[in-house]
């Protein structure tokens, strides 16, 4: 299948930031969120796609056509930056109309086109205004309108909402979701905010140190975070090391973690060392043993209770390892837990995921890296059992 936008084995070296064999493909109509730690090369990837930087190796393809040497103006990729980059010497109307003035076919309909897109993003009443007088949210809408008016093949968003307050961010997400549906726009959105991922993304790609580590649907990435970095980056705090003891007839894998026997629904080979992860919100906390449906029940001593927003984070010390559980405030209150108390952390076998580290571990077959175009190194590294 021909992808709309694709980068293959992209190498860019800007000193502090670099891409090292980056592969990524986006299908037409996809909303792909690109996540990764600071300095991973997310913005460099976007700017290489748009034509800011010339890779010293690798290709950028649009509809399967090599556009690596094309100048930015031929690629028809829209870009919206975190700090809006509205032209300060132009008012809102002229900012939005900027791209259309270059297109002869639109010159006659320029005014109506600008009013139409401005109305769609809710800033028609601001068209005569100087951009310095707009709020952050209004500026972001203007920047979005300016990028969309030329009907780009792909809209690239570089942390486009991160300069906005929480309420504006939520409004922008809603607006963008509607616009993407209406205008059938393909989007690649660099973000740090997992709420963007959950609200908008069909696909997620994780970039670390200039390489795509994993791609897949948000559900897949969050439930099956692949290498150790992805697990930690996505907040899989409880990362444990263990050895596989047995795989029973019911499909459960028995794993020894510091002499405690745990059960995972992910398959693995006996005697392999594995790395495990369970998300804090999937742990139930009780003062005594819970029903057998939760196969993993670990006696712990409470070491810390910390309220963070609507949740209470409970740290429990088991035999040789610690776990963190996130429970609701009312749940924690009902249990009447205090630091120093004994309790039980319980979770199902399907919540305990087997994840991989770079060389020593292998990954279960139901949890493959669903790379659209798997880089050779990654494919070998995470070969499934």
């Amino acid at each position: 299948m021909t992808m709309l936008l694709e980068v293959r084995n992209l190498h860019v070296d800007l000193g502090e930031f670099s891409l090292r064999g980056t592969d990524l493909a986006i299908s037409e109509g996809d909303y792909c969120c690109l996540i990764g730690d600071s300095g991973a090369g997310k913005s460099v990837l976007l700017e290489t796609m748009v034509g800011s930087f010339r890779p010293h190796k690798g290709k950028v393809l649009l509809h399967g056509r090599d556009v690596t040497d094309w100048p930015p103006e031929r690629r028809n990729l829209g870009i919206v930056y975190q700090d809006f980059m509205l032209f300060p010497h132009l008012n809102v109307f002229d900012n939005i109309a900027f791209g259309l003035r270059r297109q002869k076919s639109f010159r006659t309909a320029l005014k109506s086109e600008v009013h139409s897109i401005a109305a769609r993003v809710g800033i028609e009443h601001l068209l005569h205004r100087d951009i310095k007088t707009l709020s952050g949210g209004e500026q972001q809408r203007a920047a979005l309108a300016r990028a969309l008016i030329t009907r780009p093949q792909v809209l690239l968003l570089d942390e486009a909402f991160s300069a906005l307050d929480v309420a504006s961010r939520e409004r922008m997400r809603r607006l963008l979701r509607e616009l993407v549906k209406e205008l059938h726009v393909t989007v690649l959105h660099v973000t740090h905010d997992m709420e963007d991922v959950w609200a908008l993304a069909d696909q997620v790609a994780v970039l670390h140190d200039g390489q795509i580590l994993q791609t897949g649907s948000p559900e897949h990435i969050f439930s099956c975070p692949h290498p150790e970095f992805v697990a930690e980056f996505l907040g899989a705090r409880n990362v444990l090391q263990g050895s596989v003891l047995d795989c029973d007839a019911s499909g459960l894998t028995h794993i020894s973690v510091e002499q405690t026997r745990l059960y995972s629904a992910d398959p693995a080979s006996v005697d392999h060392r594995v790395q495990l992860s369970v998300r804090p919100e999937e742990l139930a906390v009780a003062q005594k043993q819970l029903p057998i449906t939760l196969r993993n029940q670990i006696p712990v001593r409470i070491q810390g209770l910390e309220r963070r927003g609507p949740l209470v984070w409970i740290t429990g010390k088991a035999a040789g390892f610690s776990l963190e559980a996130a429970v609701t405030v009312s749940g924690a209150r009902e249990q009447k837990l205090k630091v120093g108390d004994e309790a039980v952390f319980a979770f199902s076998a399907s919540s305990l995921r087997i994840i991989a580290s770079e060389r020593r571990y292998r990954v279960p077959s139901d949890c493959p890296a669903t790379l659209t175009t798997p880089p050779v190194a990654a494919a070998e590294r995470f070969a499934c059992d």
Partner: protein, 261 residues
């Protein structure tokens, strides 16, 4: 107590220096009789000198700004081996005494091969009015380039990238986005270049010569008349130069408050 002495010491040095400077300038302005200043200003020599200074400076500023925009943009946007060396070479004439710069230009334009080529093309630079403009351009260009470079540097290159993603070529993005955004810096560069051109003395003296009523710009008028002992004419040209510099620096500060040099 220590803090007070520290503050008082610094303030004292500042007041002393600025006071002397203002006193020196006021002495020039208030020393001559005003009737003498008016007569000198309206004299044929002074009018010639003012006209020549304004004409050559206007032409030079246009050339200087073309150079400053080109070199400033190259330095601000392009990365290449020898970037720092180029910056240093462009800045170098600012550290030169003007007489040395004039001597360098005299050797460049007065000797082959350049002198021969220019002669064939019918262009006289040494000891000519064209030489005044050339001297002014080489003197003022580094100052204007520095200001324009700072203006371009202060503009995020992503503005151009957005413009290009919207269909502009590099030239169109430069014209439609970067130049308008840098206009404060460009005006400031032009003002400082004009002031440098008007006040250019040593370079003009060596390259174009100080011939009365021929290559006589305002600083040359001051120099020639002080040599002849005609103090009124000398002081009048001094006053005119101070007024031009004052106007330039006020305009520069007003336009350039956002450009960090």
């Amino acid at each position: 107590m220590g803090n007070r002495i520290f503050r008082a010491g610094l303030a004292g040095i500042t007041v002393l220096f600025v006071g002397m400077l203002v006193w020196a300038m006021l002495s020039l302005i208030f020393m001559p009789r005003w009737s003498e200043v008016v007569d000198s200003t309206l004299s044929e020599e002074m009018l010639y000198s003012i006209r020549l200074s304004l004409t050559t400076s206007a032409v030079s500023v246009v050339v200087v700004m073309i150079l400053a925009v080109s070199i400033g943009y190259v330095l601000a946007r392009f990365r290449f081996p020898g970037h720092q060396l180029l910056r240093t070479v462009v800045d170098l004439p600012m550290a030169f005494p003007e007489l040395v710069l004039g001597l360098c230009l005299l050797l460049l334009f007065g000797h082959d091969p350049l002198a021969g080529w220019l002669k064939k093309a019918g262009i006289d630079i040494v000891f000519s009015k064209t030489g005044i403009a050339i001297a002014q351009i080489f003197t003022a260009a580094p100052y204007a380039t520095r200001v324009v470079y700072a203006a371009f540097r202060s503009i995020n290159p992503r503005y151009e990238m957005v413009a290009r993603s919207l269909g502009c070529g590099q030239w169109a993005a430069f014209l439609r986005v970067t130049l308008p955004m840098a206009k404060g810096g460009l005006f400031a560069g032009a003002v400082i270049a004009f002031a440098r051109c008007m006040g250019c003395f040593g370079t003009v003296l060596i390259l174009a010569g100080g011939t009365r009523m021929f290559t006589e710009t305002l600083p040359i008028t001051l120099y020639l008349n002080i040599s002849y002992g005609n103090l009124a004419m000398a002081m009048t040209s001094g006053i005119l130069l101070i007024l031009i510099s004052l106007a330039a620096i006020v305009t520069f500060e007003a336009l350039n408050h956002e450009v960090v040099l």
